[in-house]
Symmetry: C2
Subunit: 561 residues, 2 copies
Amino acid sequence: MAHDGLKSPSKLAADTLRIIPLGGLGDVGRNMTCFEVNGKILLVDCGVLFPEDNQPGVDLILPGLDYLEGRLGDVVGLVLTHGHEDHIGGVPYLLRMREDIPIYGSKLTLALVEGKLREHRIRHAELHTVKERDQVALDIFDLEFYAVTHSIPDALAVFIRTKAGTVLHTGDFKMDQLPLDHRITDLRGFAHAGEEGVDILLADSTNAEVPGFTPLERDILPALERVFAESTQKLVVACFASHVHRVQQIINLAVKHDRKVCYVGRSMVRNMAIARELGYLKVPGDLLIEMSKLNDYPDDKVVIICTGSQGEPLAALSRIANRDHPVISIDAGDTVLFASSLIPGNENAVYRVVNGLTRMGAHVVHRGNAFVHVSGHSSAGELLYLYNIVKPRNALPVHGEPRHLVANADLAVATGVPRDRAIVAQDGDVVDLKKGRARIVGRVDASYIFVDGSTVGDITESALTDRRILGEEGFISVVVAVDLRDGSIVSGPDLSARGFLEDPSIFDDVTARIAKSVRSALDEGVDDVHRLQQVVRRTVGQWVSNTYRRRPMIVPVVIAV
Amino acid sequence: MAHDGLKSPSKLAADTLRIIPLGGLGDVGRNMTCFEVNGKILLVDCGVLFPEDNQPGVDLILPGLDYLEGRLGDVVGLVLTHGHEDHIGGVPYLLRMREDIPIYGSKLTLALVEGKLREHRIRHAELHTVKERDQVALDIFDLEFYAVTHSIPDALAVFIRTKAGTVLHTGDFKMDQLPLDHRITDLRGFAHAGEEGVDILLADSTNAEVPGFTPLERDILPALERVFAESTQKLVVACFASHVHRVQQIINLAVKHDRKVCYVGRSMVRNMAIARELGYLKVPGDLLIEMSKLNDYPDDKVVIICTGSQGEPLAALSRIANRDHPVISIDAGDTVLFASSLIPGNENAVYRVVNGLTRMGAHVVHRGNAFVHVSGHSSAGELLYLYNIVKPRNALPVHGEPRHLVANADLAVATGVPRDRAIVAQDGDVVDLKKGRARIVGRVDASYIFVDGSTVGDITESALTDRRILGEEGFISVVVAVDLRDGSIVSGPDLSARGFLEDPSIFDDVTARIAKSVRSALDEGVDDVHRLQQVVRRTVGQWVSNTYRRRPMIVPVVIAV
């Protein structure tokens, strides 16, 4: 799957379907796919990717929106499959480019998008609510939506009919056969699409490496029940603020065990209010209490449902574990339950919180020591069902790292999709579907767009490289003022360091050396500030690497007065 | 287990055994325990801890060696339980404090230590080889060693008899009942110790949270066998350079499948040569080939055993995945096997390598998609056997994060150790054993000692805080030269930034503002360079936070000429 040789694609021929993943093929995140036929563009999802430790200081990463720059007028609509950040988080940034792009999604999905748009002060978005089995004629694209089960309610798959061929995009899904809301993945709908003919299937790859079947959400009830049964004091439950069904299970147990429920964490409070108002979450009238009222109730009469299950440093649970939460504290014998996944890369952060709570004497239950979480994505076994019921002519695995996409393609091939039609693509690859045959025909730029503070796209890879050096080694700055007329040093060299050894006396001997090398450069007639800075950098660089075997960033400043 | 109130302990009474964990209780790493009776000190293990992402640029973390500063003369010896870095990595730094401390360990353990000492140019170490069931009278400490099974051969537990009581220290161990070398954990020895009477048991907590039993090393053979059977091209196997038994399994399969073996990676080459020479690794005469000879053999006639299973950026496998290995390249259809654990915190690094290899078209097998690794530590089920056969009067769980220590203490209690004698301690806690009763009686300083380049202990927490800020946000430096006599600006303000936005034009408007605020300060008669720097910092800080919602480090340099 090394496509680096590919060039930008030829102009799109008539009656050909062009599919361009602008994000989500290579990472789990920033999901976005672009479909084009006869000059019209349909978008599916517009999510964000959360940065890794090698992208320091970055807040969010957007899909390859640049590709749409010149084409915004041709976009007929954006379909959102569900309300997770990696599928809707980029919407405000897309609408900044063109605010009136029509958006289609389920009731819950759009409710979550609305909150996001308010925060970004976007007022004129065109939101169209759809539900499973709805059919929508969107310009030249005919859409039909199917219910799918996921770790957030009201998720949809979309079947796209075009003059150039048909596409089934599953969105994120699993096949829980006994979901809490009885809304199962619509295999009948998938069967109809398959019988009608699916030219290309885009299926969720997240768990394609995982053999067997994802357990049912209700399978974790016994473990949750046990936590409630054994808790005699304060009980804190952390989970994703969008996992309505997980919260529903906690609420049902709270009722059964006679505990009130208190939401803690901005997104938890906001999302659960939305979910309840729209009827996705069933909450008995007097069950909820405000955080301000917590102290009016005995510890064993309340369950706190809070954010921070991934160890996010600013979230409620981390603050509780650091003893800096304004209201909630943990005492020996309290129980903290992580009813949540552990996203790869978050282990250090999460276990820092677990250990902090353990030090306080809390009994901490997490997926590592109890069966308190199930995934929201189909495992290999379920994906085989999908391919066999749809029988697509081509497969384009989406939503995963390369290892996931390859595993998903192997499953497609195992069910009869020819190897050369099980396409393992990466972000920016251009896949053309012509006469029922899909091929990679080129590449466009779909590289990362970094959001950092209020800047979008201004932080470059080289700035990140500098951050990595600074973060590992710190810097030494050297300031020298020279008089170029008489070739003398007027002031300095003054050395200071941050993130390096802090005792200024370590610079005593090198300071003289720098002065010496600057003077001899001046004597040799060097009258160029930049060349003098090179002299300083070289002198300091050799000294620090010989003396300390380190490579801090060296920042020489020579000013001529 | 919040011990922060504890003060330094009273002078040690006669015939009392004082136990001080100087590392390894709170982290998995830097294991070291200090035992003192009647003025004599025995040390067990002296390992390093590898830094986490919140300790940027740190190479190693040492145990609390400072505590020994004034006591080096009282140290009668150091016992090393096995040859892993987290148990021997700190030895050179201890010997720098006193080179002739007698060291006791098994043949393989000491061979690995010797290599380490050579690197540190330590020539006069006193190394004493011991083996299972040896008894050693070390001053007032009587030692007896027992064989234990672990993920490195020749590991030992140590039974310590003193006038003040007896200690059984398991070191790292599991209870594989069919180990490849038939050297099982010596439960008979543990039984003898138990019958004689164990006042306090220090047991490995690493897997105390894991229910059931650690599978046998040989249980992974079928999965390894399958990898060999299905590989038709190049085969690369990554594993720990100390995991002799894992390498033995690969070697046995290489012989069976008619492949030569090539070690790649400095520590793999060195350690396997030692293991073979000492008889821990059985290698047929003509099996090994040099890396330089690799190209003389067809791809399907060689297996490459290399380092880098944890995604270490400089190790062989990462360089292969980045296409910058001098000799080895990966082609579509090659196979790469991670026959290794995935240490929490390394996920991003490891999956970056997995995805890089997958992009090259390699078939990547790892513990996430095949049963190709088992742990080297006892799970809860085995620890219950341990406690029941030893029946200690007190338990002091070692080797783990707080969550592991607590889980281990719970197992001790489940087997009958009274709750108040199952002591969950942390590094620096002072545990006194008197008349068969152990209690935490105080605390000493056992804080982290950072090794960074060639400096030991000079990098402070505040330097790390600076690194974290620089790494997240970068810095903006501002240089202004002023003439304090006439209160004029001679040069600047000159702004430059690293790890921040790089377009210098962004500074245009703030530059004028800085000049303005400096001038007005000078007009107000401010003639102190540091106060002028405060003025600059404030001006830039407000501007950057209002304009970009960011907090880069601001480095103002005002020089008077």
